[in-house]
């Protein structure tokens, strides 16, 4: 489907301040945006191919290498898929530690995205480093938040990128009470800093041009707690499905301009006759669907700033992340306080037999949205089949739509200078907080 080039395309060769390599290509002909492509030229890494035939332990050590920004999300989800396949039930303590580790990933990832990648746009800088002169307190708060997120992951996962301490069945070494106590104190001291992101964002309203109702997907909390876990995925269209059936409902296909595939949602059931539709996922979707489960502080903040959390506008995703930052600092503090009292440093990982084999499918909420893993393990403890879908692959089609909408409205407003249009489009892309490495390296076809 080659486009006839009537005028020069609006091109962004390499979108800066996102994870991974992607470009934007927008074709405008007769003042109409005729095509929008997120060119994903990050190279493929074939994780689902190279892990096939490998021992499940080696495979789960490799999966987090899909992406550094959400390595913990990948590691935890892969490990839990392996556990689901092998019928391993980790201890409650393991689950709580994993949750705290996952929250650490959220805090680090959101703080990085907001303070380092998104705010320079809003405040008119090229980057956070040059912003540091004028907004020293803001940058410092961002660093402190990112650091505590990293520290949580280092304490529990051994380090904050590619957390090796996390194993099938438990941990290599359980952190000590003193370490948990230190985390607790550090988290308590950052409560007010966690509100800073939303303080900044309230000064910037969403771009109305982007308003458009959209379908949101997120995991429904089982126990009324707003976290990354739950047994069902629900949609803003009031449909839902069990997470382990994700392959029936989230469909992928290859597109020519991208090493990342695109996804559609098929609600199945009685609505089967409907075409599978594009959807979005991420902080805004979680907020939209699960907001009543936020902690009080986060809830108050979100009620006060409803306008910034419009589910129809992708820029709201930044604010949703800011609200989550408050929420997760609270949640992390609670968890760390609890663990500082109760943690049993001598607990060993649950023993298991990798040769039992089986299939496990798990979905969790990564910082950027839904993340699904399916691992099929054979009778020798090796991976027979692996399937991973990442949030970026899920929301890419929606992102392209929004980029098109933005471009169209700018063109309609008489702006034709690509150097003015391009940065605006980049801001739209960045609001999704896309993770390009993730999206490229894992999609697979049946």
């Amino acid at each position: 489907m080659k486009q006839v080039k009537i005028s020069r395309p609006i091109l962004v060769d390499h979108v800066a301040r996102i994870e991974g390599k992607a470009g934007i290509e927008v074709m405008v002909s007769n003042k109409q945006v005729s095509s929008v492509q997120m060119n994903i030229f990050e190279g493929p890494r074939f994780f689902e191919a190279i892990t096939v035939g490998k021992k499940v332990e080696d495979a789960v050590a490799v999966f987090p290498r899909i992406c550094s920004f959400c390595a913990a999300a990948h590691k935890i989800t892969a490990v839990e898929a392996a556990e689901a396949a092998l019928g391993v039930e980790p201890s409650d303590q393991t689950k709580r530690l994993r949750e705290l580790l996952y929250i650490g990933d959220y805090i680090e990832s959101h703080a990085l995205h907001l303070f380092f990648l998104a705010f320079p746009d809003l405040l008119g800088y090229h980057d956070a480093l040059s912003m540091a002169g004028d907004y020293s307190d803001t940058v410092k708060a961002g660093i402190a938040l990112k650091d505590v997120g990293a520290r949580i992951q280092s304490v529990i996962g051994a380090r904050y990128i590619h957390q090796e301490n996390l194993l099938i069945g438990g941990f290599g070494k359980i952190p000590g009470k003193a370490q948990m106590g230190a985390l607790k104190d550090e988290l308590a001291s950052l409560k007010s800093a966690s509100e800073l992101a939303s303080d900044i964002l309230i000064n910037f309203s969403n771009w109305k041009e982007l308003d458009s109702p959209r379908l949101h997907l997120a995991i429904a909390p089982d126990d009324g707690r707003y976290t990354m876990y739950g047994s069902h995925i629900h949609a803003s269209s009031d449909t839902s499905f069990p997470m382990k059936d994700y392959r029936k409902h989230i469909l992928e296909h290859v597109v020519e301009h991208s090493f990342a595939k695109h996804c559609r949602y098929d609600p199945g059931g009685s609505k089967k006759k409907n075409e599978p539709s594009i959807f979005t996922t991420g902080a805004l979707s979680r907020y939209t669907l699960n907001k009543r489960s936020l902690t009080n502080r986060a809830k108050e903040r979100s009620i006060m700033n409803k306008d910034h959390l419009d589910p129809s506008n992708p820029l709201s995703n930044n604010f949703a992340q800011a609200v989550e930052l408050i929420h997760y600092i609270d949640l992390a503090h609670n968890l760390a306080s609890e663990l500082a009292e109760t943690i049993d440093e001598n607990e060993r990982p649950v023993k298991y037999d990798p040769q039992k084999g089986g299939i496990g499918a798990v979905a969790t909420e990564a910082p950027r949205g839904l993340l699904t893993y399916l691992l099929d393990i054979d009778g020798t403890g090796r991976i027979k089949n692996a399937d991973v879908i990442t949030p970026t692959a899920m929301f890419l089609p929606m992102m392209e739509k929004d980029v098109g909408r933005m471009a169209q409205s700018l063109v309609d407003g008489g702006i034709s200078d690509p150097s003015i249009i391009a940065p605006k489009l980049e801001t739209v892309v960045r609001s999704y907080d896309p993770c390009v490495s993730c999206s490229v390296h894992v999609t697979t076809v049946k």
Partner: protein, 270 residues
Amino acid sequence: MVETCSVCETRKPVVGVYALTSCYGCQLMIATVEKILQISEAVTFKSFHMLTSASSHGKVDIAFVEGSVSTEKDLIELKQIREDATVLVAIGACSIHGGVQSWDQGLRDYPEMYEKVYGNGEIAYEGLAAKPIDHYVKVDHYLPGCPPDEREIVYFLSTFLFGTYPERKERPVCHECRLAGNPCILIEKGEMCLGSVTTSGCNALCIGFGIPCIGCRGPTPYDTASFDALAKEFKRLGKTREEVLDRLSIFGSHDRRMRQMVEKAYGGEK
């Protein structure tokens, strides 16, 4: 204030941080080192797409290149970087050793993997089997790790700022593991720990957590990795040739001696 730099002598060194195909962890590590603000004062970042939109092409004094060459576009970019850079530092497992995406190097070819993942779907960009960057261009310094250690990143930059260059680590992880006071888990638990053939610099972090080394910093340089002796020990512990090769290939599949030396250990008595 910095007075000299080994590369550019008189002014602030101009640094580029580039990514080929990777997880972006090395860049994330650079961007999140504790001293990033100090670094950003000591050097000028000419290109660092992940961190700044003020990134541009052109000459740099020091280029840090993360990622393996996995597409034609990667290769073109890499050659340009080499041309533009006075000193080129390969950073991270992908760049130095091909990374985890090279796990199947020598086992499965590119079309087979492509088909497995993308079916018969067509993509406009040309992919390549993942390779370390020194298969294509000259590399001046190697900064290993998956991801690299914060201290080493700071060390590398500091040596340039001091008018010299970094010393290459060539001791195995076991060295730092003993220095850290860990017991040896290969001996005690019989686990397939790759510490003895893996370049140090991580302070044996994983073993400190009771986790065997999977070799993320890559084989020790100068052909000092005794894959054969290690494989023999694994064999004695009841590990199969495949298990050993799979483990050693995660980060070492491009080592020209590895496969042959493991075969030697298992030779004849399959």
